[in-house]
């Protein structure tokens, strides 16, 4: 079932948690709400579930085309999974999963046998067949979260909502459960939304990712697109490590970064005609920053000094400091490092192979984008 919310606003006292948010999630999609804490992602999820009321000026909430805004949570048909599982501690695993089935009105309640069958089926699905009579306190974190998921699925919800589902688990279990959830989703194709602050989780698991900041959705797109074509400076900054330069747009598609031997270092951006003479923010990913020993003619090369080299890993990470005292990070291959014979303290040049530029309108307000 598709989910659509329009112009949702939510304020807590003076804090604007959601600022005119609209989003449409297609049937069978797995969507991640990604953002730093306080960005409003959990609030949006809770509003979709019906656990929170949006402000009166907000637009409607549609499930499969029906406005569910004035329905109570128990009539909405949502499965909700909490970060800390929220399992009923006084009930066994079996009773936890069966709960939703046993609280149904007598008329529509399944007979005991049918409930049993359904629960055993779900236990099998979460691979905990043998633990039906354990209590939540006797399970590991990963097992608890799977039980919570089975409990939510037992009532056959129209949509599945997960609030930081892996947030309380340790790294290894988190990875396992992530893969498991993806496979499960591919099997049952239930429209699902999960909240996370972990970009790897969002990019790896979701069909589409909504990146949120300050109560707004900055970008809603496939993982590939949000990573490679970030719509805003925030998205660029939030996803993965990034080097940021300050510069000025100089018209004619040129951007100036800092100064080099008294003259501003210039770089030509081919695709866009800059009309303003405004401040710009230039972003370069570490793997797009090349290190060279000598400046290359016709390319923007900035002098820098190597501070530290981390070579334990698949790539070599080089911490540099530019002439303008900006801290830079470059990621190069082990081969390059050997060929260049880089050592801490060496002077060298860095040259970006791919950049993204955003206007800086009024101080630090990052808005529009340009491309190389």
């Amino acid at each position: 079932m598709s989910i659509e919310v329009r112009h949702i606003v939510k304020t807590f006292g003076t804090f604007k948690a959601l600022d005119d948010v609209s989003i449409r999630i297609n049937t069978g999609e797995l969507v991640a709400l990604l953002g730093p804490s306080g960005s409003g992602k959990t609030t949006l999820l809770r509003i979709i579930a019906g656990l929170e009321v949006p402000d009166p000026t907000s637009g409607p909430i549609f499930f499969g085309g029906h406005d569910v805004g004035s329905q109570r949570i128990r009539d909405r048909g949502v499965g909700f999974v909490f970060q800390h599982y929220a399992l009923f501690r006084h009930m066994s695993v079996y009773d936890n999963i069966a709960f939703g089935l046993t609280v149904k009105p007598r008329k529509v309640r399944l007979p005991k046998e049918k409930i049993r069958e359904r629960v055993m089926e779900l236990l099998h699905m979460i691979q905990l067949d043998n633990l039906a009579h354990r209590y939540p306190s006797q399970l590991s974190g990963g097992q608890r979260q799977r039980v919570a998921l089975a409990r939510a699925l037992a009532v056959e919800p129209h949509v599945l909502l997960l609030d930081e589902p892996f947030g309380a688990l340790d790294a290894k279990v988190r990875m396992e459960l992530r893969g498991w959830l993806r496979r499960l989703h591919d099997e049952i194709h239930l429209t699902s939304v999960f909240v996370t602050h972990d970009q790897d989780e969002a990019l790896e698991l979701a069909d589409r990712v909504a990146v949120m900041n300050n109560g707004k959705i900055e970008q809603f797109d496939t993982p590939d697109n949000v990573f490679h074509q970030p719509a805003t400076a925030f998205v660029m900054n939030f996803l993965g490590q990034v080097n940021q330069f300050r510069g000025r747009m100089a018209g004619k598609g040129q951007v100036r970064i800092g100064k080099h031997r008294g003259r501003p270092a210039e770089m030509v951006l081919s695709r866009k005609n800059w009309t303003d003479d405004g401040a710009a923010a230039i972003f370069v990913r570490p793997h797009d920053l090349k290190i060279v020993r000598k400046p290359i003619e016709g390319r923007l090369c900035l002098p820098a000094k190597i501070e530290r080299i981390h070579s334990a890993g698949a790539h070599v990470r080089v911490d540099l400091i530019s002439e303008n005292n900006e801290n830079l990070v470059a990621e190069i291959s082990h081969l390059d490092r050997e060929q260049l014979r880089l050592e801490p303290g060496d002077s060298c040049y860095v040259t970006p192979t791919s950049v993204r530029v955003f206007d800086l309108i009024e101080q630090d307000d990052l808005v529009e984008q340009g491309a190389v």
């Binding site: 019906g50 656990l51 009321v53 009166p56 000026t57 805004g69 004035s70 109570r72 949570i73 128990r74």
Partner: protein, 294 residues
């Protein structure tokens, strides 16, 4: 307000109600429960408290003043203060000692020690008094020894003090212990590493952290010490000279005095109780704000 705005607000309220309905009780039930609680608490707590003051002043303010300042009342007040002033500091010192060794060290038999400290809570006041009747009675070795050396313990001030210490024994330590355990020992160890000595650690590091809990315990201990009735009654018997305030109230009530007289004396203790509640509230507020600061 335009029609459209009204409609928006109506829709919003409907929406809000529908969501609250699933995670809280319906409005009617809430109002009913609040009304029931207020009624019950009023009948059982407010009315008795108010009635004390009402009855006390029924025979006029002059009578009230005479009742609270007559010789027997003054002597009872002195006895109550004596018992309180000895038992509260004694239990305070004990409470700090016990909380330090139980809260800061790991040793065998700790839970047994904690249970033993709790015993006076579990014992009925009358039995508490009975224990001391047996201990200092005419048949016991201690009783004989004290009698032979000319000391009067039972039916005299010493037994009032001792029995008050007994019944208020766990109050201070019970309040300090959870706080001192929650604090852990890291700060003390840091102080130790910085070269502080034992007394310094306690005085400068531990005590500031637990001061509100200590005060809390002292307040509760004090209220119980001033108000103890059953236990003191057993060890004092019928000797008016050693009456405490609660015993004096009993004597007035059972005797042929004016019916307002016991209530007049009771106002003193009721005021103490009100003061206790206010202080308790204040300390709880202090403790919770200290907790949220941490």
């Amino acid at each position: 307000m335009t029609e459209e705005e009204k409609q928006i607000i109506r829709k919003y309220n409907e929406h809000r109600k529908s969501i609250l309905r699933s995670t809280t009780e319906p409005r009617g039930v809430r109002i009913l429960l609040i009304a029931l609680s207020v009624l019950f608490m009023s009948l059982f707590l407010f009315v008795p408290l108010v009635s004390i003051f009402y009855e006390a002043f029924r025979s006029g303010a002059g009578f009230f003043l005479r009742a609270v300042s007559d010789r027997a009342a003054m002597s009872a007040l002195r006895m109550t203060l004596l018992a309180t002033c000895i038992s509260v500091p004694a239990n305070l010192v004990f409470g700090l000692c016990a909380a330090w060794c139980i809260g800061k060290f790991q040793f065998r038999g700790k839970s047994i020690l904690v249970s033993l400290i709790d015993i006076p809570f579990a014992i009925s006041p009358v039995i508490a008094g009975l224990l001391f009747i047996f201990l200092f009675g005419t048949n016991s070795l201690l009783g004989i020894w004290f009698r032979d050396h000319g000391y009067r313990i039972l039916y005299a001030a010493p037994s009032v003090v001792i029995v008050t210490i007994f019944v208020t024994f766990p109050f201070v330590v019970r309040e300090i212990l959870p706080v001192i355990q929650a604090q852990g020992t890291e700060e003390e160890q840091a102080a130790r590493v910085l070269g502080a000595r034992g007394w310094h650690i306690f005085w400068r590091v531990t005590l500031p952290n637990i001061r509100w809990a200590v005060l809390y315990g002292v307040i509760l201990c004090n209220a119980r010490a001033m108000g103890e009735f059953g236990a003191v009654m057993v060890v004092v018997g019928n000797s008016p000279k050693t009456n405490t305030l609660p015993l004096h109230i009993n004597a007035l009530y059972q005797g042929y005095a004016d019916p307002a007289a016991p209530f007049a004396v009771a106002t003193l203790l009721a005021l103490m109780a009100i003061l206790t509640l206010v202080l308790k509230c204040f300390v709880e507020w202090k403790m919770s704000s200290a907790e949220s600061d941490a």
